[in-house]
């Protein structure tokens, strides 16, 4: 019998039967069908699987779902709210922060974690905070520009929506 896990995912409390050896990423993708979160490597080396747990970034391929009883998980699917893209999504879209898009969900979630603690990160701070998220397409330049454009501090000073 699989134990019942009580976990909040994207703002919604769920009670799900989950085996203890289920990785968080498999729980999200297979059981909840939240396929926005991606698997890029065989464990811990690429950041494609990044989600937020209690607001901090987390590699969902290096954690067991069972560890998060009572915790709050956010995935890329949570970024779309009230029928709108989040500022980060808007910026990644408009500034071409995504080419093939495969690293994008993890990249946006890592960026979200950064922007929640730093409203106007410098380029160096962005490079530092997203250093664990690999992208093979963009050369990172437009990803950095996207994060800068989405930063609340930046949006305030320029009056741009994103």
């Amino acid at each position: 019998m699989k134990p019942i896990l009580r976990i909040q995912v994207n703002g919604r409390w769920r009670e799900e039967a989950v085996a203890d050896n289920t990785l968080l990423i498999d729980f999200l993708r297979e059981q909840l069908q939240l396929t926005g979160t991606k698997q890029g490597c065989d464990g811990g080396e690429c950041g494609a699987c990044t989600v937020l747990v209690d607001g901090r970034p987390r590699l969902s391929c290096c954690a067991f779902a069972a560890s998060f009883e009572g915790h709050h998980v956010e995935t890329i699917e949570s970024q779309w709210q009230d029928g709108q893209m989040s500022p980060l999504q808007q910026a990644f879209h408009e500034k071409l922060g995504a080419q093939c898009g495969y690293c994008t969900p993890g990249m946006i979630m890592a960026a979200e974690a950064l922007l929640r603690t730093n409203a106007e990160p410098s380029e160096a701070e962005i490079r530092q905070a997203l250093g664990g998220n690999l992208c093979r397409c963009t050369g990172y330049v437009k990803i950095i520009e996207s994060v800068q454009a989405a930063a609340p501090g930046h949006r305030q000073t320029t009056g741009e929506p994103a």
Binding site: Q39, C46, H93, G97, R127, G139
Partner: protein, 782 residues
Amino acid sequence: MNTKPSKGVGQRMPLYDGVEKVTGRAKYTADLFPRDALVGRIYRSPLPHAELIEVDVSAARSLPGVVAVITGADCDIPYGILPIAQNEFPLARDRVRYFGEPVAAVAAVDEETAERALKLIRLHVRELPIIDSIAKARAPDAALLHDKKPGNIEREVHNEFGDTAAGFAAADLVREQTYHAAEVNHAQMEPHAAFAAWEPEREQLTLHTCSMVPYYVHKKVAQCLGIDTAQVRVIKPYVGGAFGARVETLNFEIIVSLLARAARGAVRMQLTREESMLTHRGRPESETRVKLGMTRDGRITACECEVVQRGGAYAGYGIITILYAGALLNGIYDVKNVKYDGYRVYTNTPPCGAMRGHGTVNTRVAFESLMTSMAAELDLDPIEVRRRNRIPGPSVTPNGLRVESYGLPQCLDKVEEASGWRQLRGKLPKWKGIGMACSHFVSGSAKPVHFTGEPHATIVLKLDFDGGISILSGAADVGQGSTTIVAQVVVEVLGVDWRRVRVITNDSAVTPKDNGSYSSRVTFMVGNATLDAAQKLKQVLVEAAARRLQVEPDQVECLGESFHVLGDPSRAVSFSDATAEALVDTGTLHVKGTFTCPIEFQGGKHRGGAVGSTMGFSYAAQVVEVSVDPVTCRVSVDKIWAALDCGFAINPLAVEGQIQGGVFMGMGQGLSEQTRYENGKMSAANFLDYGFPTMAETPPIEVFIVESIDPNGPFGAKEASEGPLAGFPAALADAVRDATGLEFHEWPLTPERIAKAMEAREREQRAAARKTVRQPATAGAA
């Protein structure tokens, strides 16, 4: 809808399918797996080279939960990308030739069962010598990987254009050097995945796969299953990068299809990162010997080049790769005398294939490096030397390639100025340096890999009662933005409101065949086919509007959402009315546009002369600034300036992204990337050890777009993605030389490699110092 005609091309546009990507709604192959599909897994050879005596799958087969097990015995039809070189079976038969080669496969009810079944498979083999290097493959008594391939040579190429002997005789300086480039892998972020569903009642197969060339996959899957292509449907969902990794049919795509049929159901297959890297098809390790003749003022008089590529175990794209390596010695500078000798060898390593800059990269790196080194010897500026060798105007290269538009000089100007080259070259403080190099690439192979007599590209526009325009495109968008390009072209020509347009891609049951996303052909060829289709549809609508307005078609002006009588805007019909009129008697409109490269662009007459042929080359120049840490010997790239002549930027935003991505991949190859083998076993098949660069060490990449307006490209456009890659490794080595005084002929420039060179120099200096100390004493004694 808009009243003014919409603009399509020349705009900085977000990707047409970008919203799906940033919201996580884009479905990649593995995101589409139904939960109840069987799990497919591959049993791979643990040996790099062995004769298969028996593949015992009996225990696996009888494990409860296992639905199907297949081996080489289930498919005796070989496959391969080139019709003349199909020597690979989806599952090995009789012999395995590389570590990781598929030998058997299982479909089971879940992951654990499939995993357990794999562990029950037993191999009985006779081990064979492991031929894992060029030297071993070419040794006189080497074991042969394939019958009828003496010397393990897959293909030799020899050609000479002009008179190289005379060219070298006319030179003031002749130099020769051998360069070595490690094997690299595409390392696209999405691991390979496929999902096949066999419908036993209909005897039809639907395959979802992450391909760049769904049409080849379609053909090869039908071929290996021994069924009619009509029984197969191939759908390409979103693809998480490809860079050439998916430009031929891959074994797992056939295996999952065979499994689905054997299991009479649906089978999902997700490869691990390690398996994806073992599937490989990357850029081969290569040894490149270049010899150049140069006049005192920097003009190249002759070029001789010998390339040896370690091709891996099977043919793959090998013949094309080794031809490309020679063909694109031409087409960038005005060199009249060119000799090329190429050898592609078979080895017990995973098959190489096409990777961004297919075949041309390591040759270009070697050529550029020698060119710069000779310029230094002649005390000439490397940028100036390139200017002196520019192609004067539209021309045909010695090997029969046509150059129509040529923006290399402008690229040089841009990067020279932006980087402050003149102030920095040779003048930076110790341990800092600046370097440069150029590169080019084709905008689509003018002759398709498979000759069928069909047009080289086809696009269909569907217009129906609703007034919606569906662009049916078979072009595989793998992140490069081809879907966006076709939409832009249609909107530009028709001027219609964007909301009227939808792009439907890559479902063989719906969209027209496309040759695939290889050789940077899509913007040029599919762009031109789209242009043709849009112009035809416009003509149909103009004629319909003319009927309604009761004027001649040439009296009608199209304003996108409406059609006016020329000079009398009050007499107009709306787009909907024009559509309604156009549909009278015919119903749903399917307007087809095509494009074919004219024969005169299809290359020289010599054997293999079609490779390298194209209607337009992109050109790139880049400058790279570095620092070298004297203790750790790590190179940091501080800044990159890259300029690309892409003819015309249909979407400047996307062009910038492609340049940055291409340069970045060149940077990885230059700095840190390489596959590794432990006694024939690929052993850096993960992102930690393979080590492509992270955001932390990737510098700002400033890009400049040069628009030479190609006479044949759609709106003047050429390719924009592969061209900028090859300059990087050479520019990097040049910069490191500027910083350290050390010249490198091997890539990647790992800290270890630089440390070795520094140590060697220190030893030499110490030895020299000892000599000078000792010499006076000896002199005194004498």
